[in-house]
Structure formats: structure tokens, C-alpha cells
Symmetry: C2
Subunit: 259 residues, 2 copies
């Protein structure tokens, strides 16, 4: 069965009632959709990509933050072009190089597997850029082992922070950082989040900081973030050693050797 | 504070105990990380990208499914190269063109904003390819309005399915499909999920179907998916008309006009 469809039909049912439909149809008219976005008004959000990053770390927050009114979200890497994930399966495009970006309202540093994390922690050009951006940012944030990269740049000294559960001891032992086992942690202008998927939770919090709670709630509804995982095994504090071992094996086995 | 770091240190604390560390260190040794992946053994998972897709729809499932033992996850589009999201802010790289892929164990069709969804629903080359792949797939799946694309290909006739809340009536009214307001819905070999973020929940379910529950649980722990959003507004069934209106406005305003 196939039917002709119009723009206003696809995303609009009748269940929500005529008032909703009328308003939303106006909002979805071509003139509104074609309006220029991300002018000087909205927050400039930059996401730093580096070889071996974990796919969900930058993309979960991008989904949320790119819905903020007038926001721009820009993928940035040492060089423009594709940057491949830890598993090697996929690549995101960096639209700007480090040299092309010298000011951001929000910096987000994603995490990676061991290869990518160590690569970023030892990359002085990357760390210099992070420090330079942080000098003027309103919020400097991370997902997963991105906190280790911020720490390696010397930004988290004296702060509390979180990271992937398997990197918690490393963060605490090697830096002047107090690890807090929460989904995301704010300490001054630094907001760090736990492993991989925690970036989605953090980005809704960031959305509320950048606008207001009502806007963040509307974005949550827009991306239908009403999580119901089929299992309840995401919390390391409740996991058996056996499950942790298996999780680390799967992460290690899925990491590509890199280019 | 900066310290030299070795691969086995970054992702391994001491808290989990010596047994865990010893096992995981072995798993993370360079020889294991460099082992060839995704041979004939594991599932071939293909994700169809098209202009205007929503970022989290393909990337959440990619994060989960690329952790499956020996799996390959491949980004596929009409042509190889960057495919840009609905907001225009970012692009994922398609590594294969439709012509280069004629067999998949799992097909995943992401959703998009109105522009992208309509574009895909009206693209006969895309729909032909979807039908051809579905003829041999073990699982044909969708996230968000990807269900409308599967329906437009004629695959969901007589099935129950889910989609983004704002597209539910459209799906039900225009196709021989029974909409079910759940996070993900299995009907025969079709697994559809609700809006955007629901793909993460669905992909853990798929992981358990493709392997076993223990493996899916370990992946959930690996990506630390223990969701705690700061707000509770992700469920459309509990949302006010005002919040729905605002959510649709934000989605519409953030959609780029396309290339």
C-alpha cells in the first residue's frame, strides 16, 4: 500500500487534536524549515572528534543539542574529513579543523576505547587546542573517557568528575580529580558524564542550562527519550565481576587496530 | 598533572579486583585488539542512510551492535560518501553504495524529519533495494519514522509496528499496520522502534536475539546504559498538548532545508 504524502502529514497524527496539529503545521511549513539556523544568537557547540572515538559519545549529545533554538553543533578534528570510530565500522565527518575554530560556547570531548583515549591524551596539539577553547568557553564537557582527555589537558585539577566505570580508578589515581559515580557531574563550568550512553542524559541537563527546563523537556519528548532497556545491567556498581569481565572483553575485541 | 599511560591502564581500575584485571588485560593486549573482525562468522548488519536522517537513529544501534562478537556494521547509502542529518549540523560517512550490498543478516532503516522521511518514502530506488535485502534478511528493523519507510516499501502490511509518537496516526491511517505504543515491537522478522532514542533499547533486544541475553547484558554494561535522564518527559502518552506542541516546534525549527 502506498499513498501520496505531504510534509505536514508525515509527522502529524490526529490523536493530539486539532489545536496541536494547527500549531505544528505552521511550525513545519517550508518557510519555517528553510529559515537560517544558528546565527549569532544561539550557542556555538563544538564536538571534538579524534581517531577511535566511540560512536554514541558525540552523536547522542548532537541529537539533543542540535534541537536547541538557534544552536549550531560543529564536528571538529585535527583535519577536516572522516574520523573513524573505535570499532572501525563507521565514520563521522569533521566539518572544521582545529585551526578553523577558536571560540566555542560549549566544548564536548567524547570518549574512546584505549587506543583512541591514549592517542588523544598524548596529542599535544589536541590538548593545546582544548586548553585554548576552554579559556573562553561557558561549558567544557566530556562523555566517557573524554574526562581523561580533559584531565590530561590539566583542566580538571581539583575538580570532581565522572567517566566510564572501567576508567574510574585511572582517573582518580593519575590526576587530582575526585571521581563521583554519577550519570553526570557538574563542577564549576565542567560537566563530565559516565560511559558512552550517559552523554544523552548529560546533554539534556546541558540543554536546561543553556535554555530552560521546559525547552529541555520538550527536546526529550521530541527525541522520545523514555528509556526502557530490555535488561537492567547498565550499572557497574550492581554488576558481577563475571559480567564486567565479559563487558571488557567485548569492548576490547570490538576495537579495531586503527589506521 | 600528566602521567605516562599504557593501554591496559586507561580502561582498567583496581576496584574490580585482580582476577578481573588479569582477564581484561589479556583481552586488551594488542594482539587481541588487532585480530581481524567481522569475518564470515558474525552477523552482517547494514544501516541505510539517506539525506536528512536523525543522528541518533543509526548511531545508537551502531554503538550497541558493533560490539557483537565478529559482527560487521556497515553504513550504506545510494552513493558512498557523507550523508547529512536532518539538522544539517553533521554527517555520517556511507562506506558502501546500494549497488555494492545485496545481502545482509540485519537491515536497519533509521528515521528522519519530515523532509528526509518523505524523501525516502518516495525514492523507488531505495524502496526497491530495501525489498531486495528484506527477501533474504533474518531481521528487518527500523527506528522512528524508518517504520514509515518500511511501510512504504510494502513490508509491514498486516503487521504491528511502532514509530515516533507524532507519526503514529499517519502510520496507522495510511498503511495496513497496527500501531503499538511500545518502545520496540517485534512482528515476525520485523522489529520496529519508537522515536529516535528508542533505537538503543531495540538494539539491545536485537543483540539478545543475535547472540544471547548474557552477551546483550554485557554490551549494556560496556556502554554503561543505565539511563537516568534529568527529566521524565519522554513519554508522549503522559505529555501535555503544550509540551507536544513545543517539541514539534523545536523539531521543525531545527530541520535544515536540505541540499
Amino acid at each position: 500500500m502506498r499513498h501520496p504524502t505531504t510534509r505536514r502529514n508525515v509527522l502529524l497524527g490526529t490523536a493530539a487534536g486539532a489545536a496541536l496539529a494547527a500549531t505544528a503545521m505552521t511550525a513545519m511549513a517550508p518557510s519555517a524549515a528553510a529559515a537560517p539556523r544558528g546565527g549569532a544568537k544561539g550557542p556555538r557547540i563544538g564536538i571534538l572528534l579524534y581517531d577511535g572515538f566511540s560512536m554514541l559519545d558525540p552523536t547522542g549529545p548532537t541529537e539533543v543539542l542540535s534541537r536547541l533554538p538557534d544552536a549550531t553543533v560543529t564536528m571538529i578534528a585535527e583535519r577536516r574529513g572522516p574520523v573513524r570510530t573505535d570499532t572501525g565500522d563507521a565514520a563521522l565527518l569533521a566539518d572544521r579543523s582545529l585551526k578553523e575554530v577558536d571560540r566555542l560556547d560549549v566544548l564536548l570531548v567524547p570518549g574512546a576505547g584505549p587506543r583512541g583515549t591514549e592517542g588523544a591524551m598524548g596529542n599535544e596539539r589536541l590538548l593545546d587546542w582544548i586548553r585554548a577553547i576552554d579559556r573562553h568557553s561557558n561549558w567544557t564537557t566530556s562523555v566517557c573517557t573524554g574526562a581523561l582527555v580533559l584531565a590530561a589537558a590539566g583542566l580538571l585539577d581539583g575538580h570532581k568528575a565522572t567517566t566510564h566505570w572501567a576508567s574510574a580508578s585511572y582517573l582518580q589515581d593519575h590526576f587530582d580529580v575526585t571521581y563521583v559515580p554519577e550519570r553526570y557531574v557538574r563542577s564549576g563550568k565542567f560537566v563530565t558524564s559516565a560511559g558512552v550512553s550517559a552523554g544523552v542524559d548529560m546533554s539534556l541537563y546541558l540543554a536546561s542550562l543553556l535554555t530552560d527546563e521546559d525547552t529541555a523537556r520538550a527536546i526529550q519528548l521530541g527525541v522520545e527519550y523514555d528509556p526502557h532497556p530490555p535488561f537492567d545491567s547498565g550499572n557497574a556498581a550492581e554488576a558481577s565481576d563475571e559480567l564486567k569481565r565479559r563487558a571488557l572483553e567485548l569492548l576490547a575485541d570490538s576495537e579495531a587496530s586503527g589506521s
